[in-house]
Subunit: 348 residues, 2 copies
């Protein structure tokens, strides 16, 4: 493992994105939003993804010079064409616009199409929370799940993300995908030749399996059976159908050819239109106290609020930096060499 | 079992509510919204609940003469004080207002406090769908679940409900609670002296149990572990904390003393602000075809969309009426006698 501080993570990403043609401002926004994931411990959505982003920018599967533009706008809503540029940039614009509409009209709702992977959804909903608003976001993604009763990969692990501000504390942030476990857990079990529990996945014939390799060929299962299927489907309607983006099996994964064409829907609304912000904070403190101060179950020392682990990880990593694996370090060194950037500059 | 047609269900409810003091208009709205649940097969939220509603209206636990009023209003939002009247009435007003705001400004968001049980959430979100809008609703309820790592009943089975309009078909309606199963399934297992699967409930010490009676003393478990906990918590923040309503363990169940004080948050927004409605319908038809026409898993003949069973039940019951159990029939007869209403009038 190799330690790298978060300023260097952000700088490395900025320079790499500029090296493949992004404008400085866009590169900086993307770097901030990618490093956000490393900061809060969502490592699967952080610098680990940079090599594939750079690869896709180089070979034109992502557009490094997008003409990102608002194509429709009303008092409370707007639609953004991301022109297949970096999702971290277009998602930032979409949430900024939703917040601006909410400042003016109380609530704003924006959609994005021709988008790409946006990283950690929390990054954007927290922007709303920082303004005393509640933020909501969903995005769609390459399919991994089947509808209840089906066997085909037709629904992505479309996240549902909310952020709610608190007084003098980090916001409460829920950022969940709808499969019981991520595909990575099956890959891990496979690498250790372990079985997976029944209920995580179906094989490609649609039969329940304990074999991680058969599960990886098949589909992941949603939380709560038909309930998780319904939530995932609804998020694809919001993020995909409504936005004008691609949806369902028309979305390729990042390691496949073709533009992803994914979309987002974001909402921000002012708490002050419902009650004074300080009164809301009082009530929220009381509510969260009822939860976290309640009796613990055997084996538990704490009850956590959504986003609390990420908040603590962020405080720790801002001090101590983040650890990257030797293989990721090597991948980044190779990438930087290829981009003719100096490895030393980033403490790698 | 006894068959009763849905017009009679609605009439019986209207007359009963008027007999305990509700205004005609309010009684009619409540009756329509309670009978909605019977119509679509959500029997637990229909006429089955009328005796407890009537009981609470008679003893003052529900207010039969509420001063339902808007206490705060902005361009896109409004807050309704339900004054502890019937939830089916105040929820109707709250969704009508959200729709009106959406007609004017593209989106409307309303909250309700001092509410009561609203019946089936689908009833209200479908109102938005009928206007070419997407509707969202959440409400909170008496606690049945613990937070992950806890043992106390602190979170209700707070539903998440969305409705999306389709061309010439009933809307897609997702209306789910966040526990893996409803408490009724534990009661059923208990009555048959059967075990329940591990994972449905914890006993009152917070330990997993297969004994339905121990589960009924303890807590229900949410879908997807911490994911369902997070969703339920977020819905209580929206429906309870933000609205000014009661929340968490401060909400009594309907069979307990004290006013429930529950709340709702509702959103309606116009699809036309994002794309032409006909274009949206084309896209949604294409999306749903990808889902329902896909390969079936062993044992499945169809893939259903959320709300499809309810839609088919509605078509059937509008023709054939609904079946009520002998015990419910007897309960209704006793209630009608007590209210000095004629049983014959309703085909009971």
């Amino acid at each position: 493992m190799h330690n790298i501080n978060l300023e260097n993570v952000e700088l490395l990403i900025t320079d790499s994105l500029q090296a493949v043609g992004l404008k400085e401002e866009e590169a900086k926004i993307c770097a901030k939003n990618i490093a956000f994931a490393d900061q809060q411990g969502t490592d699967t959505h952080g610098i680990m993804r940079l090599p594939i982003y750079i690869e896709r920018l180089k070979n034109g599967l992502f557009n490094s010079k997008p003409n990102t533009q608002w194509v429709r706008e009303n008092e409370t809503s707007a639609v953004l064409d991301g022109d297949n540029g970096m999702g971290h940039y277009s998602a930032q614009l979409a949430m900024e616009k939703a917040i601006k509409k909410a400042e003016e009209k109380g609530i704003g709702i924006t959609t994005l199409y021709n988008g790409n992977h946006i990283g950690a959804g929390a990054c954007y909903t927290k922007m709303a929370a920082e303004k005393g608003m509640i933020g909501f976001l969903t995005t769609n993604a390459g399919p991994l799940m089947a509808p209840t009763g089906g066997t085909e990969r037709l629904l992505g692990n479309n996240p549902i993300c909310y952020a709610v501000p608190r007084r003098e504390k980090d916001p409460i942030v829920l950022d969940i995908a709808n499969s019981i476990v991520a595909g990575g857990k099956l890959q891990l079990a496979s690498s250790k030749s372990e079985e997976i529990p029944l209920g995580w996945a179906l094989d490609k014939e649609g039969k329940p399996t304990t074999d991680p390799d058969r599960g990886l060929e098949g589909v992941l299962l949603p939380i709560g059976g038909h309930k998780g299927y319904g939530l995932t489907l609804m998020m694809d309607i919001l993020a995909g159908v409504l936005s004008g983006a691609s949806y369902s099996k028309n979305i390729p994964h990042l390691d496949e050819e073709g533009k992803t064409g994914v979309g987002c829907t974001m909402i921000a609304f002012k708490i002050e239109n419902f009650m004074e912000l300080e009164h809301f904070y009082d009530r929220l403190d009381d509510f969260t106290s009822l939860i976290v101060d309640s009796k613990k179950a055997p084996g538990f020392e704490r009850i956590l609020l959504p986003g609390e682990i990420e908040s603590e990880t962020k405080d720790k990593r801002l001090q101590e930096g983040t650890q990257i694996s030797d293989s990721l370090r090597q991948e980044l060194v190779t990438m930087l060499d290829d981009l003719q950037l100096q490895t030393d500059k980033y403490g790698l």
